[in-house]
């Protein structure tokens, strides 16, 4: 069984600042980590590997050279090998160009039975790359997966959708995007960490046999950011600061009024 997990190296979004003058995001000094939602895809891949040996997990990421750190961390969790697609030709890729690049590399590096992705990346927050990669590779796709059962040449999965849980089956090969609901991702082991240190990461650079000029990066991206700005929050707010029992009771009355003026209780 050949598994691939697509991971993204993302800034820890907690502490991002924007440069008001330039309207761009200041990434300097911001730590980058594995997209937290990709940890669930890694976890599911590891579970499949354990249940269905022999199996191998290849990590694939497109990003800056320091994405190597995230790849090594995933190896420490138990993944086998890693591919890092890097180079200035790729920078500025939108979800379309990113998916195109990932799908070309996946196609070239192996016939994967299952490709797993996180539900979305916490920085871009689009959830578009998984389905787009599947489409480029002409694979079936199942998204928001909360349970995976593998038998022979088929997967049965649960998907968390708006109003409930739907069960589907699909023949392999398939691409799955994994939701947080599958359970808690494991931590790297000591043994894994040692292995990760010496593991060799395969680098893929822009290569004319894989990509045509203009197909990647900003040039290959059909969407373009024309403006970045700070969201304006406009709410007329009433904030009460009750100082004693009586005032607390009054605030509660006003709160109930506020609700019942808007929704019938």
């Amino acid at each position: 069984m050949k598994l691939a997990v697509l991971i993204k190296h993302v800034p820890e979004t907690d502490n991002l600042k924007i440069d008001e003058k330039k309207g761009t995001v200041v990434r300097k000094g911001v730590e980058s980590i594995i997209n937290p939602l990709d940890l669930y895809a890694i976890e599911e891949a590891l579970r499949i590997k354990e249940k269905h040996p022999p199996a191998s997990i290849t990590l694939v990421s497109m990003g800056p050279p320091d994405a190597e750190k995230s790849l090594r961390e995933a190896i420490a969790m138990g993944c086998d090998s890693a591919i890092l697609i890097t180079g200035r030709e790729f920078s500025g890729s939108d979800t379309y160009a990113t998916s195109l690049v990932l799908s070309r590399v996946l196609k070239k590096t192996g016939n994967y039975d299952i490709i797993l992705c996180g539900e979305r990346a916490t920085d871009g927050d689009t959830s578009q790359v998984g389905p787009a990669v599947a489409s480029f590779l002409d694979l079936p796709v199942l998204t928001y997966v909360s349970r995976v059962e593998l038998s022979d040449n088929e997967v049965e999965v649960d998907r968390i959708v708006e109003e409930g849980i739907e069960t589907y089956s699909a023949s392999l090969p398939v691409l799955l995007t994994i939701s947080k609901a599958i359970g808690v991702p494991r931590l790297p082991t000591l043994k894994g960490k040692k292995r990760a240190k010496s593991a060799s990461i395969k680098y893929v650079h822009f290569d004319k046999s894989l990509f045509s000029p203009g197909e990647t990066g900003l040039e290959g991206s059909p969407t373009m950011v024309v403006k970045l700005f700070r969201p304006v929050v406009k709410r007329k707010s009433v904030i009460l600061k009750p100082r004693n029992e009586k005032e607390i009771d009054e605030s509660i009355e006003r709160l109930i009024d506020f609700i019942s003026e808007r929704v019938e209780l």
Partner: protein
């Protein structure tokens, strides 16, 4: 005069068209609106016409509702293969329809279906796609759709346009626009479109569906009561549940509360949880981290209770009480109970 053609993707649940699909019609109808003064430039005085076409996969009881609420035309896909969401089947049909209709814009809701099928389709169309937009405008002069969405973890807003590709595609944030009223005097035009069955084969099969308990589905709740780390421990989270019960509300939570196991993941609101847009969102013991705000900021009204007067949550609230939730909640619940007793069934 130039006509701007907009396709929208409708969705159904048990044969009923979902409200997001009606909202999508409001999005489509508002594409040409401007905030600036009317008739500012002479070029814009001649407004082009909009043609809005809804694609409705799966049998629906009332496809005409889409026309009543703003569609000029409905393309109803009635074959059994469209009954459940099979991405390959949907993609085939949508490619055929786009080829025939040649729309300028194609919109879907950022639902689990919309977020899956749109990128699956856009790759084949070799065009751009912007996810989860909170604002859309069509610029008549350039013919470009200006797509605004939160970016980088909700820290900034980005306006995006599609520079190549024939169709400009976007998904829009569910529940962020009022559903248009139904006007049965509007003209109804419905086409039932069928495809050769051999074209509708899929490697994915639908097996079954189990609906969430009412409380777990935050999706239709008019009021949501959410609790955060301020609840301090699992037992206390019952206060949130009880308050929700008395308000007929859904229960939400911050990630801190979910990570501590006080409540299950389907209840998490925020960047890595659900995006909700109830009429009233009540945040209790939640600080208002940007990642939490990303999931509830577009609620119609926001109420918060927090002990810290400087909590960020107050800056997005319409109504707030600075105070100890352990003092406030029991009394609030008591008062709601009394209120029910006072108002007999007949009077309400």
């Amino acid at each position: 005069m130039k006509k701007i053609k907009v396709l929208t993707l409708a969705e159904t649940s048990d044969g009923e068209i979902v409200s997001e699909s009606f909202e999508l019609l409001a999005w489509a109808r508002s594409l040409l609106e401007t905030e600036e003064s009317e008739g500012e430039s002479s070029a814009s005085s001649e407004k082009p016409q909009l043609e809005v076409i809804s694609i409705l996969p799966g049998k629906a009881h009332h496809p005409e509702e889409l026309c009543y609420r703003g569609a000029d035309r409905v393309i109803h896909l009635v074959q059994d293969e469209f009954q459940h969401f099979l991405p390959e089947v949907y993609r085939y049909a949508l490619l055929e329809i786009i080829e025939r209709e040649k729309p300028d814009v194609f919109l879907a809701s950022a639902t689990t279906t919309g977020r899956t099928i749109m990128p699956y389709l856009a790759s084949k169309l070799r065009t751009g796609l912007t996810a989860d937009c909170t604002k859309l405008r069509y610029d008549i002069e350039t013919g470009k759709l200006l797509q605004t969405r939160p970016a980088v973890g909700g820290n900034v807003m980005a306006t995006i346009k599609t520079v190549f590709g024939n169709v400009q595609m976007a998904t829009v944030r569910p529940n962020s626009m009022r559903t248009p009223d139904s006007d049965s005097s509007r003209m109804v035009q419905i086409e039932s479109l069928e495809f050769p069955p051999e074209k509708l084969r899929s490697k994915v099969r639908f097996l079954k569906r189990e609906d969430f308990d009412k409380g777990e589905s935050l999706h239709d709740a008019r009021i949501i009561v959410s609790g955060g780390k301020g609840l301090k421990k699992a037992e206390n989270f019952k206060l949130i549940e009880e308050l929700a019960k008395h308000l007929g509300a859904g229960v939400g939570a911050s990630r801190e509360a979910v990570d501590r196991g006080w409540i299950t993941y389907p209840h998490q609101v925020g960047l890595s949880g659900k995006t909700v847009t109830p009429e009233i969102y009540i945040a209790i013991g939640i600080s208002g981290a940007i990642q939490h705000l990303a999931g509830m900021q577009s609620a119609e009204s926001i109420i918060s209770i927090n002990i810290d007067p400087d909590a960020q949550i107050f800056s997005v609230s319409d109504f707030g009480i600075v105070g100890d939730l352990f003092e406030i909640l029991p009394r609030l619940i008591e008062k709601l109970k009394e209120r029910k007793k006072r108002a007999p069934e007949a009077e309400r």
